[in-house]
């Protein structure tokens, strides 16, 4: 008896929902739309989704910032490694004002064990062509010795000399000569990503 009533009641409900009209077998209007609980659930879901995507965006942005920072750091450290040093006329000893430059290089090399350097020594056009090759070699050696004394493994640095063959400034005056008396530093390995020295 009780079951019969229930069935009837359900039948009445269905009849009411269908509006009594016969031919529409379409999907029923979701009942949940009126449900406060479901609405609430949906609201929460959408908030969670938004939060997730915001977190993801933030994570990505942070990642980008970190990458950019790392790239900027690598660029900066690379340029520190590549910074030239200069020499007095016919001298190969490291000048006082270049010591900080070489100290930075030593620090970067110690913190980045994959980095290898090629130091090339250059001379101005005074001095014989042949002597200048020897002088350039001595200048490259001088910088290498400084870095090795600061703790860099000697096998990570190789030296070459260009003598007076590659002037930065071909003019024949004191300014040009001063520029041309130099060591250049080139990264030959480990240039990918550099970390700052501690």
């Amino acid at each position: 008896m009780r079951r019969k009533f229930f069935v009837l009641a359900a039948g009445a409900l269905v009849a009411a929902a269908c509006g009594g009209s016969q031919p529409e077998p379409e999907t029923p209007e979701p009942v949940a739309i009126d449900s406060t609980a479901i609405k609430e659930q949906m609201r929460r879901d959408s908030i969670a989704a938004a939060e997730r995507s915001r977190a993801e965006a933030e994570r990505r942005a942070a990642e980008q910032r970190a990458l950019a920072a790392a790239a900027a750091l690598t660029t900066q450290l690379t340029s520190e490694l590549q910074d030239m040093i200069n020499f007095d006329f016919d001298r190969s000893d490291i000048r006082m004002d270049d010591e900080a430059n070489l100290d930075r290089k030593a620090g970067v090399m110690m913190a980045n064990s994959a980095v290898r350097l090629r130091i090339s020594g250059h001379a101005d056009e005074r001095g014989s062509d042949e002597y200048n090759l020897a002088l350039g070699n001595r200048r490259a050696e001088s910088a290498k010795r400084y870095l090795v004394n600061k703790g860099v493994n000697a096998s990570r640095i190789n030296i070459v000399s260009y003598g007076e063959e590659r002037p930065l400034d071909p003019a024949m005056n004191e300014d040009a000569w001063a520029k041309n008396r130099r060591d250049e530093f080139e990264l030959t390995a480990g240039a990918g990503q550099l970390v700052a020295p501690r």
């Binding site: 014989s128 062509d129 002597y131 090759l133 020897a134 070699n137 050696e141 070459v160 000399s161």
Partner: protein, 433 residues
């Protein structure tokens, strides 16, 4: 006879050819240690005559460049030439003491040196010159010129020789009279410090590549090259052949500094280190002509100066004395072929000048003063020196007679550096005595 004398055009002698190149016979910028008295050189005339015109012109210029004679120039005479015999009286009246005759004799040419005062032939030789357009023609004439110088002075001239040098980045070669400039290496490689083998068949030079340099040996006949063993690493340069041509001494810059090494190039083996620099550099070796000693540059006392050692590296000592703090840095020594002098360049008031060190007295004298002058190299006669000078505005090759100070420019197409002068080329086919 009088008609013929009238046809002779006397052109004022010595320095005429040089004057055509706007070069004064004795440059203001050259100091010579001895007094030069014009007219002390014998006057020589190359007789005009039929045939051999181009040979005669080359000969005349060679004999002028030898700086052993004052040339008396006579113009061509188309007629009135005596068919036989030499009019000694005529040439004596022109002030000439020697006359050179080129007389055709069938396909050959008889070269005669006439002593005009004695009125007789002093020396002669018969030669079959290659055709004037053949590549070996000029060298054959140069060899005759050198022989004529020997007939008169006892010492051959230097015309039959060539120089190599670096122009732009390539290796170039040119005859001693400035003819025949051509490059020996490609435009895509950089070469440094060429050096002749004593037999004139090989040139050692440095092939420079990104701060390193290997020594190459070029065989001129074939143009092929081989790399000298043990010179692929580091920077190997400023090579010098021993006089017997069997050993190459050279400079090596690498870890541990710059030092002089030698290698046996007959067997291409047996590398030996001759100097141990520690914190000083040793470079630019040059052999004495007896092969027993090597002069070189060292920074052992601070500034680079000229030292000498035995060819095995022992007995190293200072060669060209200097006052510490006063004498300029000294570079690029070159031992003269007669062994008596070493040429080098030294900074004077910030500019390089060529100096000669007399080994008997150990005295140095300054040879140049105009412009920047560097990298001297000896002619085979041991009397002329070629060097690089900026006196004309850019680096060019100049040749100076160290005895008279007479100077001339050697024509080259480009700015020039690091010249090396060959020994005399001998033995041309077809020369009979």
């Amino acid at each position: 006879m009088i008609r013929w004398v009238g046809a002779v055009t006397l052109v004022l002698a010595a320095g005429n050819l040089a004057a055509q190149d706007s070069v004064p016979p004795v440059d203001q910028g050259v100091r010579v240690g001895i007094e030069y008295t014009p007219g002390i050189r014998p006057r020589l005339v190359v007789f005009p005559g039929p045939g051999n015109d181009s040979a005669r012109l080359i000969l005349q210029r060679d004999l002028d460049y030898s700086d052993r004679f004052e040339l008396v120039y006579v113009g061509d005479h188309q007629d009135g030439a005596p068919s036989s015999g030499v009019n000694y009286e005529l040439y004596r009246r022109l002030g000439a003491q020697y006359g050179v005759e080129l007389a055709p004799s069938g396909s050959a040419t008889v070269v005669r040196l006439h002593d005009l005062d004695a009125g007789e032939v002093r020396s002669h030789q018969t030669i079959i010159f290659p055709p004037p357009d053949a590549p070996e023609f000029r060298m054959a004439v140069h060899q005759v010129s050198d022989e004529i110088v020997r007939w008169v002075t006892g010492i051959p001239g230097y015309a039959a020789s060539r120089l190599v040098y670096v122009g732009r980045k390539q290796l170039w070669i040119v005859d001693s009279d400035g003819v025949g400039n051509r490059s020996l290496t490609g435009a895509d490689e950089t070469v440094l410090s060429p050096a002749w083998s004593p037999d004139g068949r090989r040139i050692a030079y440095t092939q420079f590549d990104e701060g390193t340099g290997s020594l190459q040996m070029m065989f001129l006949a074939s143009g092929s090259t081989v790399t000298v063993p043990n010179t692929r690493d580091g920077l190997n340069y400023a090579a010098a052949f021993s006089p017997d041509g069997r050993t190459l001494a050279y400079t090596r810059s690498a870890e541990g500094g710059t030092d002089i090494f030698r290698v046996d190039i007959g067997d291409m083996c047996c590398l030996q280190r001759l100097t141990v620099g520690r914190y000083a550099d040793n470079l630019s070796p040059t052999y004495s002509p007896d092969g027993r000693r090597i002069a070189f540059v060292s920074t052992r006392a601070g500034p680079p100066q000229i030292y000498v050692m035995s060819a095995d590296g022992t007995d190293q000592e200072l060669l060209a004395s200097f006052d510490f703090g006063a004498t300029g840095s000294s570079f690029a020594p070159q031992w003269s072929p007669d062994g008596a002098q070493v040429a080098f360049h030294r900074a004077v008031e910030g500019r390089f000048q060529v100096f000669l060190l007399d080994l008997a007295s150990r005295r140095v004298r300054q040879l140049t003063s105009a412009g920047r002058n560097e990298d001297p190299t000896w002619a085979p006669d041991g009397r002329h020196v070629a060097f690089v000078s900026t006196r004309s505005g850019r680096r060019q090759l100049w040749i100076v007679d160290t005895e008279t100070g007479r100077i001339r420019q050697l024509g080259t197409p480009d700015a020039v550096r690091l010249p090396s002068w060959s020994r005399r080329f001998g033995g041309v086919a077809g020369v009979n005595h």
